[in-house]
């Protein structure tokens, strides 16, 4: 085998490993968010591992198919899980190697969009009003979230004079930090603003307050969950895992895409260990942040969702301008 083949095989293995680890950890991250949220409300809250128990239970339960449904209903959980897993393998997380050809962040967003496309269709497939309601709302949220996501990623690539490749962003950040002799570049205004815009998008995409309430029981106020009301058993487990994985993927873009500090650029075990620890710390920080946001503000009326995302768009645009100024 030639060197380049070896390199790409190694890259594929690393990506696959990352995908498996991230998907496996995704329920834990949400458990942490719920735990912190509960603490802020002076509750004990669900156990950290509750999501794993829920999923394990669902795999042992019966599946129910709504009578009007077509094959889309069966395919959607599988496709959304598969796309989220592949996205987890490609997203910036612990290491960034120029040779692995991990791909770029825009592709990750597109992959998640594919999964979402199927889930939205599944919402319409069961012929119930709730599914249509959820699908319609989810489609509308994605319409306004997507441009902000792309723009804030474009800001990073433009500011670092690189592409949206995971390795490009990470390497350029470390180079810049090294060259200037300081890591201040990591806290440059454009970076903070772009990350903030993207963070708002994450809240919207992951059906979190103020865009949606993950804890609501009322169908009429739901966005994301309303699409999934017909799912049960293993299918429900798959879509749940897929949305949890998607949340982790998007948060790790914030953690390692916008702030690639500590991302390993070699495969030495020590470097990977440190990078892993830093990554976990960053994610935990983001989980706390989400919990605080969810405890501090209320869910908004659905028709005000575009306003929030409009603000996020403004922030991203400001980041683009700030990149020139600072």
């Amino acid at each position: 085998m030639s060197d380049s083949t070896l390199e790409s095989v190694r890259g594929a293995l690393i990506a696959a490993l990352q995908g498996i680890v991230l998907v496996a950890l995704a329920p834990l991250l949400n458990g942490l968010i719920r735990k912190v949220k509960a603490r802020l409300q002076r509750r004990i809250g669900p156990p950290l591992l509750q999501h794993y128990r829920d999923v394990a239970k669902l795999f042992r339960k019966e599946s129910i198919r709504p009578s009007p449904a077509s094959w889309i209903f069966d395919a959607a959980p599988i496709v959304s899980f598969a796309t989220a897993s592949v996205a987890a393998a490609l997203t910036p997380a612990i290491c960034a190697l120029p040779a692995t050809g991990q791909g770029d962040v825009v592709t990750v967003i597109y992959l998640l969009a594919l999964g979402r496309f199927f889930v939205i269709l599944a919402g319409l497939d069961a012929a119930s009003s709730f599914g249509g309601l959820g699908s319609s709302r989810d489609a509308a949220v994605s319409v306004f979230a997507e441009p902000v996501a792309m723009l804030s990623l474009a800001v990073v690539a433009a500011a670092l004079r690189t592409t949206t490749d995971v390795s490009g962003i990470s390497l350029a950040s470390t180079d810049a930090a090294v060259a200037s002799g300081t890591s201040l570049g990591l806290l440059a205004p454009w970076r903070l603003l772009a990350a903030l815009a993207f963070f708002i998008v994450v809240l919207a995409e992951c059906a979190r307050v103020p865009f949606d309430n993950p804890a609501t029981h009322l169908e009429l106020t739901m966005v994301h969950e309303a699409m999934l009301l017909e799912y049960s058993g293993p299918s429900l487990a798959l879509v749940t895992l897929a949305s949890l994985a998607k949340q982790l993927v998007l948060l790790s873009i914030v953690a390692s895409g916008f702030f690639p500090v500590g991302v390993a650029t070699s495969l030495q075990p020590a470097a990977l260990l440190v990078a892993g620890a830093v990554f976990v710390a960053k994610l935990a920080g983001l989980a706390v942040l989400i919990a605080i946001v969810e405890s501090a503000i209320a869910k908004v009326r659905f028709l005000r969702v575009p306003d929030y995302l409009g603000v996020a768009f403004g922030i991203a645009l400001l980041a683009y301008v700030a990149r020139e100024a600072f």
């Binding site: 509960a38 669900p46 129910i64």
Partner: protein, 261 residues
């Protein structure tokens, strides 16, 4: 906002330690009634009539009290010979079988955990869909309050969900009125198995004050198979919590790690 968060952090947890510690409930709470057959020697028939739901009865010369019908109104305490029926503040009332709820002076056979496969599947995660089949909103309010900070149902892996497809069972309140019968049947059918049915409150167990009413079907057991009965009118939230935990098998094994993680 920051002040609020800091104050909350200072206050620490406000969730009750139940079931590790017994809850502090007021003495005046009418919980588990205790029957003293000896006190009935002088004749209880007259007092029985005072029960608005005919929960009291005489069988083979013994006084019996059906917790499934009892409204915990305390009328019998007044009309029966002193001490024949005495309500204690004990909140633990739930039972797995309908006949266990009929007290004749024996100790109440409290609900046991789900068996075998059911317990393996549902023992650590239980999602419930609430069906108010003509309820007056008292039981519903006491179920609702379980999700608040003191009771914090979520810490046991129990959650009230919107869709019966996501649920592992239904929690029924209300006497099952004619108009809600179909809805109850459909909700039960909509839950993927294995599944449980929990009847909360006298109405859901037996019809309560509406027993025999032509527009009422006499509680959940007339429509669906019930796995857990939680008496009361309405039951105290602790009673409901106790019942749910017993069903999941989290009470017998009072290991700290099992309960609070």
């Amino acid at each position: 906002m920051l002040k609020v968060f800091l104050e909350r952090l200072r206050q620490g947890y406000r969730t009750s330690a139940y079931p590790l510690e017994e809850p502090k409930l007021p003495d005046r709470l009418r919980g588990l009634p205790v029957i003293d057959q000896a006190k009935c020697a002088s004749g209880c028939e007259a007092g029985i009539e005072s029960c608005p739901t005919s929960a009291l009865g005489m069988k083979d010369g013994k006084l019996e009290l059906d917790l499934g019908r009892c409204l915990f109104c305390g009328e019998c305490e007044r009309t029966l010979p002193d001490g024949a029926v005495r309500f204690t503040p004990d909140h633990k009332l739930s039972a797995r079988r309908r006949e266990d709820l009929v007290l004749r002076g024996q100790e109440l056979a409290l609900a046991g955990a789900l068996e075998g496969e059911m317990h393996r599947v549902l023992g650590r995660s239980l999602k419930l869909r609430q069906v108010s089949a003509g309820g007056c909103n008292a039981c519903e309010a006491d179920v609702n309050v379980l999700t608040t900070i003191v009771f914090d149902l979520g810490r046991f892996g129990i959650q009230i969900v919107a869709s019966p497809r996501h649920a592992d069972g239904i929690l029924v309140t209300g006497p099952v009125t004619e108009n809600m019968k179909l809805a109850l049947e459909k909700t039960y059918a909509a839950v993927p198995s294995p599944k449980v049915v929990i009847a909360v409150g006298a109405c859901a167990i037996s019809g309560g004050p509406y027993i025999g009413h032509p527009e009422v079907h006499g509680g959940a057991p007339s429509v669906v198979p019930v796995d857990l009965f939680i008496p009361g009118c309405p039951p105290h939230p602790m009673t409901i919590l106790d019942g749910l935990l017993r069903l999941m098998g989290k009470i017998e094994r009072k290991r700290a790690a099992e309960v609070v993680e």
